[in-house]
């Protein structure tokens, strides 16, 4: 019987730690979401201490549900996450297939391709929004003014001058603006996470049945139909996993949002909650519970897929 006790004992610290981590903060969020709780209120100072006396029922949920900025945050979250998923999966599949053959320098190509994944999110965002996307001093600004100078210079050239005089003056795009800040976030996260998708798909491609492929070649199957009927079905499961893991990560994007425009135009659910936390804790907690529900919808599918392979 001692055989059973020791394994239990060894698991206990990990289980207890995670139980605390899970239950205490989440329990508090759940409690706060049902009471009136604000950090500053001169007229109702009793609201500034969390207490069961200030019970509000589903009032916080109704308040959040009725706020336009909540729905905007929800929309931004979904737009950002789905755009990233769409782009990383397509780029990931194409590039993984592209480098899934032997060619000179393949090792270096792999190393170069995976590098963006290890850049810390704060550096990624600062690098992109300043050094690359800045409309004046970043590479974008320099490129746009370079092209404008070039076409202005060529206007007086003989023969081809008339063509360049029709050329419009290019305007650099400000990626901190309301309309474009989501695009900046999507770009930088796609840059960072496409390598992850490539890596997963490449690993999966290496276990593809080569004999089947050779048979297909002998039968005269085109490269496209090989890809469509053999490779793509083989990648179905990895694609599902990449989608779900990324969905969970990107639903809680924060640093990139903060650095690009401090939520201007790209405010997602975590950022919206972060703003509410400055005063209205009750509402922030209700929004937090909505975020938990949203993440759980994705997580259930992921856990089911991962669970299948667990004891093999």
């Amino acid at each position: 019987m001692a055989n059973r006790t020791i394994p239990r004992l060894l698991q206990t610290p990990a289980v207890i730690l995670l139980l605390f981590w899970m239950l205490i903060p989440l329990g508090m969020t759940l409690f706060f979401s049902f009471i009136r709780y604000v950090l500053n209120n001169l007229r109702n100072p009793h609201w500034t201490t969390p207490s069961i006396e200030n019970w509000r029922g589903f009032g916080n949920y109704q308040f959040v549900w009725g706020q336009d900025s909540f729905w905007l945050a929800m929309k931004n979250s979904l737009v950002i996450v789905t755009s990233i998923l769409f782009l990383t999966v397509i780029l990931g599949v194409v590039i993984a297939v592209l480098i899934n053959r032997s060619f000179p320098g393949r090792g270096i190509v792999r190393v170069l391709l995976i590098s963006p994944f290890f850049v810390m999110p704060a550096v990624n965002a600062v690098l992109w929004i300043n050094m690359i996307l800045d409309p004046v001093l970043g590479l974008q600004g320099l490129a746009v003014s370079g092209i404008n100078d070039l076409s202005a210079g060529l206007k007086d050239a003989p023969l081809i001058g008339w063509f360049f005089s029709l050329w419009p003056e290019l305007e650099p795009i400000s990626f901190r603006a309301t309309q474009t800040s989501s695009i900046a976030v999507i770009m930088m996260v796609v840059w960072q996470w496409t390598p992850f998708a490539i890596l997963i798909f490449m690993t999966s491609l290496q276990s593809e049945d080569q004999q089947q492929k050779e048979a297909a070649v002998l039968d005269g199957a085109s490269t496209w139909s090989q890809f469509r009927f053999l490779t793509l079905p083989h990648l179905g499961r990895p694609i599902a996993i990449v989608v779900m893991i990324q969905a969970i990560f990107h639903l809680s994007l924060y640093a990139e949002i903060e650095i690009v425009s401090r939520g201007n135009g790209n405010k997602n659910l975590p950022y919206y909650i972060g703003e509410l936390v400055n005063n209205n804790i009750g509402a922030a907690s209700a929004a937090g519970i909505f975020a938990v529900i949203l993440a759980n919808i994705v997580a259930i599918f992921l856990l089911r897929m991962v669970g299948k392979t667990l004891m093999e």
Binding site: P7, R8, L10, Q11, P13, V15, L17, L18, M22, L26, M28, T29, F32, I95, L98, F103, R106, R110, L112, L113, I114, S115, F117, F118, V119, P121, A122, V123, V126, L127, I129, N130, M131, D134, V136, L137, L142, W191, I200, T203, S207, P238, I241, I248, S252, Y254, A255, I259, P270, I273, G274, V277, G288, A295, V298, A299, M305, V306, T309, L310
Partner: protein
């Protein structure tokens, strides 16, 4: 037949060239950051010095004066190393017990552990601020170590479990016959056999700790602030400090990228929880 041969010869050139172009494009922002870090702040924004400039090391030598780099870097190193060690300290025994003495509940416990990873951080932001401030641990390295350990514990247990599972049970049983204690089993059999797995788990957890950018930003002010916090605090230099900002960024991510190159294979296993092989 000739056409087919020609086609394959052509594609033998086109595809590798395309692969190289894609790889260089992906690496370009990192290259650009490194290149900019060797320009003075004034040169960094001038089109005439895009590629031809006089390289300088001043951004690196002035890093301490400009950003107090080493204070943040030290915090990053201390918290990431401690969190990695603590995570392993808790995860190795746990994964060991699960792999060699699985009970009916083991699968459920593993799934539950993984599900804690799905909890959106923002949902528990205020409780964490509230708890840590009332316990007096807000903005301490201890707190950051604990938080980093907790968010990475499920991944560590999961990875170690998949490594340990592949070790034949007979070896452990033979050890038990020879009268080894549980601690003896771990020390004499498990660690030597699973050394590679433990090391790569440690590497991956270290990278995740280093790059973490939610809790390290929201739960610190000065005392325990890490490199993520430093960079986040300099988010908008308005073009004035591109050179020095590139240098500090390069210093913050360079070592991790190199470490990352060595952990590619484990990354797949660690991030997909063994679901892609």
């Amino acid at each position: 037949m000739a056409i087919v041969a020609q086609q394959s010869k052509l594609s033998q050139i086109i595809w590798p060239v395309l692969a190289w172009i894609v790889a260089l494009l992906f690496f370009f922002p990192i290259f650009w950051m490194i290149l900019t870090s060797f320009k003075t702040d004034a040169d960094a924004v001038k089109p005439e010095f895009l590629f031809r400039f006089t390289p300088t090391l001043e951004n690196y030598t002035n890093m301490t004066d400009n950003y107090d780099y080493w204070r943040f870097a030290t915090n990053s190193i201390i918290t990431s190393v401690s969190a990695t060690l603590f995570t392993l300290f808790v995860a190795v025994p746990c994964a060991y017990a699960m792999a060699f003495n699985p009970s009916r509940g083991t699968k459920d416990i593993l799934m539950w552990m993984l599900s804690t990873k799905m909890l959106p951080a923002a949902a528990v932001l205020y409780p964490m601020i509230f708890l840590t401030k009332s316990l007096g641990v807000y903005d301490t390295k201890f707190l950051i170590v604990m938080v980093l350990s907790l968010i990475n514990l499920p991944i560590a247990i999961w990875m170690l479990f998949t490594y340990f599972k592949d070790i034949p049970k007979d070896i452990i049983e033979a050890g038990q016959m020879d009268g080894l204690t549980t601690w003896g089993e771990v020390k004499e059999i498990l660690v030597p056999l699973a050394w590679g797995g433990i090391a790569s788990t440690a590497l991956l957890i270290f990278i995740f700790c280093w790059n973490e950018a939610y809790w390290t930003v929201r739960l610190t002010t000065t005392e325990a602030a890490t490199l993520s916090k430093l960079i986040e605090g300099n988010r908008a230099p308005e073009g004035l400090f591109f050179g020095r900002l590139s240098a500090v960024s390069t210093a913050a991510v360079g070592p991790i990228i190199v470490l990352g190159w060595f952990s590619q294979k484990q990354l797949v296993q660690g991030l997909t929880f063994g679901a892609v092989k």
